[in-house]
């Protein structure tokens, strides 16, 4: 058996976080539940946003959960991959926009 920091079956135990802090755990799950309800955005759209964010925050549990959630909703693999690219574009954009700071500093320090 391999030893890793991530154990896939731990996802099933997510609910047990309430055991060590019932009040906060309950508040979190209530909030979580409300966030993903049908609203101004459809539950389907929110599922794709969650999938993109899962990749950006690099959460393997979330990726498993929202890939499965997408399949349940009939979301296609093309839609899923486009969502991941949207997340990846923002993430790389966030890196690249910092290069303006690099350029500013470079210019300031250079004669």
């Amino acid at each position: 058996m391999s030893n890793t920091y991530y154990e896939p079956s731990d996802l099933r135990k997510f609910g047990t976080i309430t055991e060590w802090s019932e009040e906060l755990g309950k508040k979190f799950f209530d909030y979580y539940g409300s966030v993903f309800e049908e609203g101004a955005l459809s539950a389907r759209e929110k599922s794709l946003i969650a999938l993109a964010v899962s990749h950006v925050v690099k959460c393997p549990y979330c990726i498993d959960a929202y890939t499965q959630d997408g399949l349940k909703r009939g979301i296609t693999k093309e839609e899923m991959m486009e969502a991941v690219h949207a997340g990846a574009a923002i993430e790389s954009g966030a890196t690249l926009v910092h290069s303006v700071q690099m350029m500013n500093k470079y210019k300031k320090l250079s004669m």
Binding site: R44, Q68, L71, K72, G74, T76
Partner: protein, 351 residues
Amino acid sequence: MQLKSLKKRDNVLANAKRQLEVLSNGIFQDEELPTFRSKLKTLNLFPLQPKTLEILQINVGYMCNQVCAHCHVDAGPDRKEIMTRETMQQCLDVIIETGAHTLDLTGGAPEMNPHFRWFVEEATKVGVKEIIVRSNLTIITANKKYNDLPEFFKKHKVHVISSMPHWTEGKTDQQRGDGVFNASIKALKMLNAVGYGMPNSDLKLDLVYNPSGAFLPGNQAALEIDFKKALASKFDIQFHHLFSITNLPISRFLDYLIASENYEDYMYNLVEAFNPAAVNNVMCTNTLSVSWDGWLYDCDFNQMLELKVDSPVQHIRDFNKETLSKRTICISQHCYGCTAGAGSSCQGTVV
């Protein structure tokens, strides 16, 4: 290469006893997950008992022109089990006697039974309120002799219910075999052409969605909207309702779950999604399933697991309404499939 049935392949899971062992061992034996029986007991819902018989679901044979990866019947061209006319007559006698309003014909491909048309005609004559045919669609285009099925269905006002796992070719063929999607689209157009599935038409055409993989179906109403939009815009196809059905962990789907190492997660998902409200409306409470050779079961899934009704009356020839109404329904862990989420039945969700 075309898939063969588990039976033809001599796969251990072709044996119903072995399937039941798998469903009772491991995570359920270790009590990591509660058995279906103990789950019902904790909620005072045990034992499950039948209500009034409304639907007689008849499996007229396991022969099919398709070999779907998830098939709970393990049906295919290599299956030769076929219902005789004599057994069909016994089914008709029972439906008259009980006043059950629906005759639900399934298989295999029910249309491949040589007495299929006779059976439908006789059922119409004796005044069965609703005759359902669970058609795989591709049978309509598979051979010239089946091309007139849409007209035949129309003549007898048959309610057609057909499988369609997705509105894309890839996902459909992955579950149901190469070429199935295109043949299904062609058959749906033929059904639409004679009036099936059109808005306000009394020729009912419903589709069945079941997931093509180890996940549970999503919201039925939302899926119906997506299916309608996609089939109308891409193929100009209309249908009435979409029934979402959960894949039960038996037969070929169980084989797939085990082989793909999804079995435990899938069972966890089913148990976690257990909905007590679905228990009141599970289909085994208003349906009886009859096998090709006339044996009686609480549902088509129990038929495949060879769990005959727990009653002194076990065969259609000995049918006795009173005796059968006193039975308790046979259950195992596969039953979690019908109680997950919004529930699942041959008519879709139940909650």
